[in-house]
């Protein structure tokens, strides 16, 4: 029972501490910079302006502090290390960059990452949207969505086992224990070695990520679709628009923001993908991707210089998507 009490206390402290911060600082701000009133209740001096000048920093402060420590500082450190040798002791200039450009593993990773980018975000977002729209029209929506969502809830270890069962290969003539090969053989085909045969294997690995990420896209897009005001849709119906027109002319523009967010998120997840590749092939059979390649250089080869260059190239690859989002922020700001 002690452990239970400890755990409960820890949780209360953690969550409570954070609430105390937000309520406390705002309370302190409101009392120290309170408006001054005359005895008759008349406002003598308003401090509202100074209060509202400080308050934003109370709101964003914790986020900025944490981000600086956990992500910004490591990112800056990565940039510095990319100019140093394996142990980050000696300055080597652009050697690591030169190495990356000439490394066949790096080139292959970039190629594969491009391939992943072309497939995964579109497939996941498209399927997620399709499911969100379809599920909205049936009574068993919750059940349908739960089934699609399930892959997200499975730990990665579990997902890896699932797909090993899917892709399992037995020599022709033996009983196939993998679903994909069993179906293939049933239709009279030859069993395939799904994860060792390039370029097919790349798509088989992508399928796993699509399988997982579609649930993510579906949850967010479904929530956004529900936010499209019923009246707008009704009005369009009365004007004689058919369902397809309603979908493309009313719904899509209304959820464009969420679509952009979903796409961006999945693009980044795709660029960073590493555990699927690590577990299924570890980048062998021409399936190397940047995420796994970086992992290899940190933990197997203990070379932070080269790992940093790979990490930076992942970050650079996401820049266009980031600019696009910032552009979107600004535009929407103006529209509001």
């Amino acid at each position: 029972m002690d452990q239970f009490v400890n755990a409960a206390l820890a949780i209360l402290l953690g969550v409570g501490g954070m609430l105390v911060y937000f309520y406390g600082t705002n309370f302190v701000l409101d009392t120290t910079l309170a408006d001054r009133f005359a005895a008759d209740g008349k406002l003598i001096h308003s401090n509202a302006r100074s209060r509202e000048r400080i308050r934003p920093w109370l709101f964003v402060g914790p986020a900025m502090l944490l981000l600086t420590f956990y992500l910004l500082y490591p990112a800056a450190d990565t940039f510095r290390r990319s100019f140093y040798d394996a142990r980050s002791e000696n300055f080597v200039g652009l050697d690591n960059y030169e190495w990356a450009i000439n490394s066949s593993g790096f080139q292959q990773s970039v190629q594969n990452n491009v391939l992943w980018l072309l497939v995964v975000p579109f497939a996941s977002t498209g399927l997620g949207l399709l499911i969100a729209v379809l599920a909205d029209r049936v009574r068993w929506e919750a059940a349908a969505k739960a089934l699609i969502f399930m892959p997200m809830a499975i730990s990665f270890v579990g997902a890896a086992i699932i797909w090993r069962f899917m892709y399992a290969y037995r020599a022709p003539g033996e009983t196939q224990i993998g679903v994909m090969n069993a179906i293939l053989v049933w239709f009279g085909g030859q069993p395939q070695t799904w994860i060792t045969e390039p370029p097919l294997n790349n798509f088989m690995l992508m399928l796993i990520l699509v399988w997982i990420q579609t649930g993510f896209a579906m949850v967010l897009l479904s929530a956004a679709l529900k936010g499209v005001p019923e009246e707008t849709i009704e009005a369009a119906r009365i004007d004689g628009a058919n369902e397809i027109q309603i979908f493309f002319r009313i719904m899509i523009p209304q959820i464009a923001g969420t679509l952009a967010v979903v796409m961006t998120t999945i693009v980044i997840v795709t660029l960073k993908v590493f555990d699927i590749v690590l577990v299924m092939t570890d980048g062998q059979y021409d399936t190397e991707v940047l995420g796994n390649y970086m992992y290899r250089w940190i933990f197997r080869n203990l070379d932070y210089g080269k790992a940093s260059v790979i990490a930076l190239s992942i970050m650079v690859a996401t820049l266009p998507f980031m600019f696009w989002n910032v552009y979107r922020f600004r535009r929407e700001e103006k529209l509001r």
């Binding site: 755990a7 953690g14 969550v15 954070m18 209060r51 000048r53 308050r55 934003p56 709101f59 964003v60 986020a63 900025m64 944490l66 981000l67 420590f69 956990y70 910004l72 490591p74 990112a75 450190d77 399709l130 909205d136 029209r137 009574r139 929506e141 919750a142 739960a146 089934l147 399930m150 997200m152 809830a153 499975i154 270890v157 086992i161 069962f165 899917m166 009983t175 224990i177 399988w211 949850v219 967010l220 929530a223 529900k226 936010g227 009365i238 369902e243 969420t258 660029l271 995420g291 970086m294 940190i298 933990f299 990490a311 992942i314 996401t318 980031m322 989002n325 910032v326 922020f329 929407e332």
Partner: protein
């Protein structure tokens, strides 16, 4: 658990004016086709998406031996397997009326297999039907019965050199069986309760803290005016791309000097830090799209930003908060790397994922354990999903915005 408040139909608007019969029929056919297509497509996708997991579920209920022999979809068929047993040795012989007999059972106690044929060599498992007699190189006679009992008879005393016994190969039919034994093994693992508690202690604050911090920040970025706002927002969102693996070592160095490693606050903050960019990104997208009039009219009424946030924005943002809660919860619940690194590998600090991972171990051949453990850890996230799913309801957002 139906969440749609108004039943949805695909129907185009009901015809308001009088419509000719033929077009009404055509309209009905179209409507039915649409109705059918929606359901057929959805069912098809759902099945496709579920087959892999369903396979895992069935596999987790099967015998270990069956897993490697046949596909999970064949788990309700009897399987015919070949196996081998070994007779007793010279030391086990009993003299009976001048004959020397070794007897016993090839199948272990409780085995449900039925033997159909047997033989004495690796390829000869169906040389003899049960009840027939085979003769070994040494001249012993062997008979095997359906239930696995065998009798080895020799006319001479069996020499000491017969020390390894005679190998008997056989073919047997195993009736199909689904069992909860695998789950039994996973659930009764030593320390699983502690691991569960650790996971809860990590997951709950590591879900709530980042959401609260991100919501405050997202609100400030959306509706408050301060210098460098868009730049800061861009940086925050840009940080989504920083690969976790690179953050670990620099962060951990600081942790070690502050003695934060292996503590709960340490891992809460780590999960918060790593989850924040995406949280701010998602919540900003939502909170910034709330109607401007709403916020401004509250401001005119004299409410401070803190009041507006707590009283107005948070209730309006429930669907967005709920979706992010689900994701953050899942990431933390299923996370292995951050827990291993920041909480350490000590047994008393183990979370569920690392416990299950260790159970599976470096051996990786305990598929039956892996399958069951995957389902043990999936149960809670699914519960959370169902609990929060009710907040994604049509009209919730639009309706409340109107009311406000």
């Amino acid at each position: 658990m139906s969440t749609s408040q108004q039943p949805q139909t695909l129907a185009a608007p009901a015809p308001r004016a009088e419509v000719p019969r033929s077009s009404q029929l055509q309209f009905r056919i179209t409507r039915f086709l649409g109705w059918f297509l929606v359901r057929a497509t959805l069912i098809f996708i759902c099945v496709l998406w579920t087959v892999p997991t369903f396979g895992l579920l069935i596999s987790s209920l099967r015998d270990k031996d069956a897993l490697a022999v046949s596909g999970w979809w064949e788990s309700l068929q009897s399987t015919i397997t070949q196996d081998q047993g070994r007779s007793g040795t010279a030391a086990d012989q009993i003299e009976q009326e001048g004959r020397y007999i070794i007897s016993g059972n090839l199948l272990p106690e409780g085995d449900r297999r039925e033997i159909s044929s047997f033989g004495l060599t690796a390829t000869g498992f169906d040389d003899f039907a049960v009840g027939e007699t085979a003769t070994t190189n040494e001249g012993f006679e062997i008979t095997v019965l359906e239930d696995g009992t065998y009798r080895l008879i020799s006319m001479e005393p069996i020499p000491e050199s017969f020390s390894r016994g005679q190998r008997i190969t056989f073919q047997a039919e195993t009736p199909p069986r689904l069992t909860l034994e695998n789950y039994d093994e996973v659930i009764n693992t030593e320390g699983l309760g502690d691991a569960f508690l650790n996971t809860a202690t990590v997951t709950i604050p590591a879900t709530i803290i980042p959401i609260a911090i991100a919501a405050f920040a997202a609100y400030a970025f959306s509706w408050m005016r301060f210098p460098g706002r868009l730049l800061l927002l861009s940086i925050v969102v840009g940080l989504i791309v920083v690969p976790l693996q690179l953050s670990l070592i620099p962060v951990l160095r600081v942790y070690n000097t502050l003695e934060l490693r292996g503590t709960y606050p340490g891992i809460w903050l780590a999960h918060t830090g790593f989850g924040l960019p995406l949280a701010v990104f998602l919540l900003y997208n939502y909170i910034s799209s709330l109607p401007r009039d709403l916020i401004e009219s509250a401001q005119i009424d004299g409410a401070s930003h803190f009041d507006i946030f707590i009283r107005l924005v948070v209730p309006l943002s429930v669907p967005a908060l709920a979706s992010f809660t689900i994701f953050q919860f899942l990431w933390v619940w299923n996370d292995l790397l951050v827990a291993l690194v920041f909480l350490g590998t000590r047994p008393e600090n183990q979370v569920l994922t690392s416990q299950l991972n260790d159970l599976v171990g470096s051996r990786g051949d305990n598929w039956e354990i892996m399958t069951a453990s995957a389902f043990v850890s999936i149960a809670v996230p699914l519960l959370v999903f169902f609990a929060l799913q009710r907040y994604f309801v049509r009209g919730m957002m639009a309706g409340s915005v109107k009311g406000g």
